[in-house]
Structures are given as C-alpha cells and as structure tokens.
Amino acid sequence: MSDGLMQGHRENRLLAALPAETFALLGRDLRQVSLAQGASIYEPGAPIDEVYFPQTGLISLLVVTKDGGAIETAIVGREGAVGLHRALGARRSFTRATTQIGGKFSIIRASHFAQIVREDPALRDLIGRYTEVLWAEAQQTAACNAAHDASSRLCRWLLQSADRTASERVPLTQEFLAQMLSLRRTTVTLLAQALQKKGFIKYSRGHIAILDRKGLESAACECYHVTRYDSLPAKIGVKL
C-alpha cells in the first residue's frame, strides 16, 4: 500500500485505532473511493456487500417511511463505519444509508472483511463496542426527533456534522437538510436565516459555515452533547 493511500485510510478513526498487524490484514483489501453527496450506500432490505469507513465524507442512516419519506436516525463520519455487523454473518440493511456529505471513503468487500474478523477476536470485539455506541446514538436521535423543536434539532445536526467531518463548513443544500430533519425546506430556510441573524452561522447556497460555535451549542438541544463522538463511548462505559 502506498503511504498516501495508507494515510487516507488512517483518516478514519476506527481504522487508525487498529493495531498495526490487524490494519495490515485489512489494508490488503481496503480501497479508497470518492463519493458525491446523495450516493446510495444501502437500501432497506438489501444485502450488505461492502463496509464503508468514511475518511472525509459523512454517511446518514435513514428510516424510510411508507409514504416515501425518510428520517435520519444516525450520522456516521470519520469516527465510525457502516456495515460492520456484516462480519457477524450475512446481513441485510435495516436503514437506507446515503452519503450526506460527499468525500473520500475507505471500503472493503464484506466477505473479505468477515473473513478477517473471524480470525481476529480483537476486531470482532471492536465491532461489538462500536455497535453499542451507534445504538445509543440512534436512541438519542429517535427521542430528539420527537421531543425537540426544529431549531434545536437543526443546531444539533450542524454541530454533529461539523464534528464528524472535522470542518466548520458544512457543504449542504437546505433541501437535503430538510430531508434529514423531516421538515419542509421553507422551515429550514427560515430557521437558518434566524440563526444567521444571531451571528451563529453564515448561510449561503450550497453550504453553511459555523461562525460562533459556542452560540450554536447554546441553541442546540442537549442531544448534541449526549451524542458527541468523543464522549458518548465513555458515558456508556465503552472504550473505543
């Protein structure tokens, strides 16, 4: 593997945390791909063929409702991966997974990944621990979607996305954002304008820049702090 490629894979924090020998085993089969925003990763009920480790992009897990709507239940960036549980056996995706922010991803064929995991108890254990954290995040998000107002959820979402891509500039259309939060686009436009008036964000076509992080944090619901990827594992006694 070239140094550049290796460095790319190590942008993902799960991959970066692996012992060198485990990473070397995975490294043979890991590829790097660039995906645009809105790329389909999994559809509900479809077999999981590849495991995705975001380097710079962001993946959204969405529950699809009968009327064709979709609401986000978890966000996965460089701190995590999607499809890991495929290593425990043949699995179908429960949610729709789509790239919410385009970027670079490390991917590996699920069958190869499963084979490596079978021979590596430490990696198997990591999947268990990561899944616990993702499960906690999804529960918090479910509660948030029902219990909190649109503006707090929008702030929570912007902060989560910024943290998980390590960038204070979130490249997104309000249309996409509205879909993620299950709101009308007009609602998102008005709320974003109000947050801009407060000086928390700068909103332009195609992206939102965070100008005042403290302000935005004060306007977000507690779900932002609860689901921070750097503190959630410790909260539930999981070492990641």
Partner: protein
C-alpha cells in the same frame, strides 16, 4: 408553477430567500400552515420573541403580498406533515 415566498415578520424580518413553487394560493396557504406548525412544534418563539408576535407574510414572485398568517391563528397540534 407560481413561486411563493414565505417571509416572517415581528419587529424584525426573516426573509425566505429561496421561495417554493406551488400550484395555487390554496396550496400556498396549506404550505404556510405546515411551515408554521413545524416552527412552533415544542417551541415558544423565535429570536427571543414569542410566536404571538410573529406573522407569516406570503409574497408572489413579483413581491406582492398574497396573504398574511398570524402565528397565533395557527393550531399548534401534532405536526401532521401532509
């Protein structure tokens, strides 16, 4: 389809910079109600002003006012997004 803009006003103004294409005024009225319910869900107000001070002012593409919807007239029930 005609374009409608859903601005908000109290002492301050929040502009709907994007607008939304809708078939007719009735659809615009329904959209305005839907947006208002989404905004008010579990929320006391916006920019430190209670909802009863806010009015949604709906404009057409030429900037002419189509109708105004005071937030206090909106039933803030469950968000039945339809």
């Amino acid at each position: 389809m005609p374009l409608y803009y859903f601005h908000m006003r109290d002492t301050d103004t929040i502009a709907d910079v994007d607008g939304t294409e809708l078939p007719h005024h009735d659809a615009a009225r329904e959209h305005a109600n839907g947006v208002a319910r989404e905004l008010m869900y579990k929320s006391d107000g916006l920019l430190d002003e209670s909802w009863r001070h806010w009015t949604m002012i709906v404009h057409d593409a030429d900037g002419a006012e189509v109708f105004a919807l005071p937030f206090q007239d909106v039933e803030n029930g469950d968000d039945d997004k339809s």
